[in-house]
């Protein structure tokens, strides 16, 4: 029990460091009104914290007997899409300004950051197909359903508030972080309820 507690602690530390780093640098970039390129450069170091975060997560999963080969593959794919997203978002933002993109080129650049997100959807589908452990798969499916429910609720309420001009417009891509937050919350609640 003590070793499990010890092995889980770094997950929280790395996770907190990642989120504080990402939001902190994003906030500071806005505060100092940094141009797009420096803004992205300062977010690279906290982005790299994802690597120890995922490693610590895998150690904790292994310690509580929940690390399957499919989970490991999903974690690796998660890292790939995260870095791919930052890279392609940078290419899209910088490219569209530098090239004064219009027409088909602008369409191409605009869709670039969406590609890693589509890869994430594919990775999640692959996990559900590849996971041989039915209990672990059921837990992920339950968490994904809860996350989808939260997303539908938030999007519907926000959408009507937006229709009546009570809240500002939120881009459609915000669905992904809302869903991811729901997935994380559901996983946390399930883990807590199992104790």
């Amino acid at each position: 029990m003590a070793s499990e507690t010890f092995s889980r602690r770094p997950v929280w530390l790395w996770g907190a460091a990642f989120f504080v780093g990402m939001f902190g640098t994003g906030f500071l970039a806005r505060w100092f009104d940094l141009p797009s390129i420096p803004s992205m450069l300062v977010m690279i170091p906290p982005m790299l914290l994802l690597i120890p975060f995922v490693r610590a997560t895998e150690r904790a999963q292994a310690a509580c007997g929940a690390l399957s080969p499919a989970t490991q593959r999903y974690n690796r794919r998660g890292l790939a899409w995260s870095f791919g997203y930052v890279l392609l978002l940078g290419v899209a933002v910088i490219g569209s300004r530098a090239l004064h993109a219009q027409g088909p080129l602008l369409w191409l650049l605009a869709v670039l950051p969406a590609l890693p997100i589509l890869y994430l959807v594919w990775a999640m589908a692959r996990y559900l197909i590849e996971e041989q452990d039915e209990y672990l798969r059921m837990k992920v499916v339950n968490a994904a359903l809860s996350a989808t429910g939260l997303l539908l609720a938030v999007a519907t309420v926000w959408g009507f508030l937006e229709t009546f001009e009570l809240v500002p417009h939120v881009p459609g891509w915000a669905a992904v972080p809302v869903w991811a937050i729901g997935l994380g919350l559901s996983t946390f609640v399930n883990r807590w309820s199992e104790k």
Binding site: C64, G65, A66, L67, D133, E134, Y135, L136
Partner: protein, 64 residues
């Protein structure tokens, strides 16, 4: 559903990890089944029964 998995495992001197490896599932799955938090699918129940050389109904019984 109740089950005798923990007793059967203990009789053979197996840890949860040992049983998990024999069933090719995670240790967390074995723990969830033993503690009644998860009822296995029919295919997994058959694998468990085959491993212990028993019928499914001798391992799993109705009830909370």
């Amino acid at each position: 559903m109740k089950n005798r998995l923990k007793v059967l495992r203990a009789e053979r001197g197996w840890s949860q990890q040992d049983l998990a490896e024999r069933l090719e599932v995670s240790r967390q799955s074995v723990n969830a089944i033993e503690t009644g938090r998860y009822d296995p699918s029919l295919p997994l129940a058959f694998r468990i029964a085959d491993l212990f050389g028993m019928a499914i109904e001798d391992i799993f019984q109705r009830g909370e």
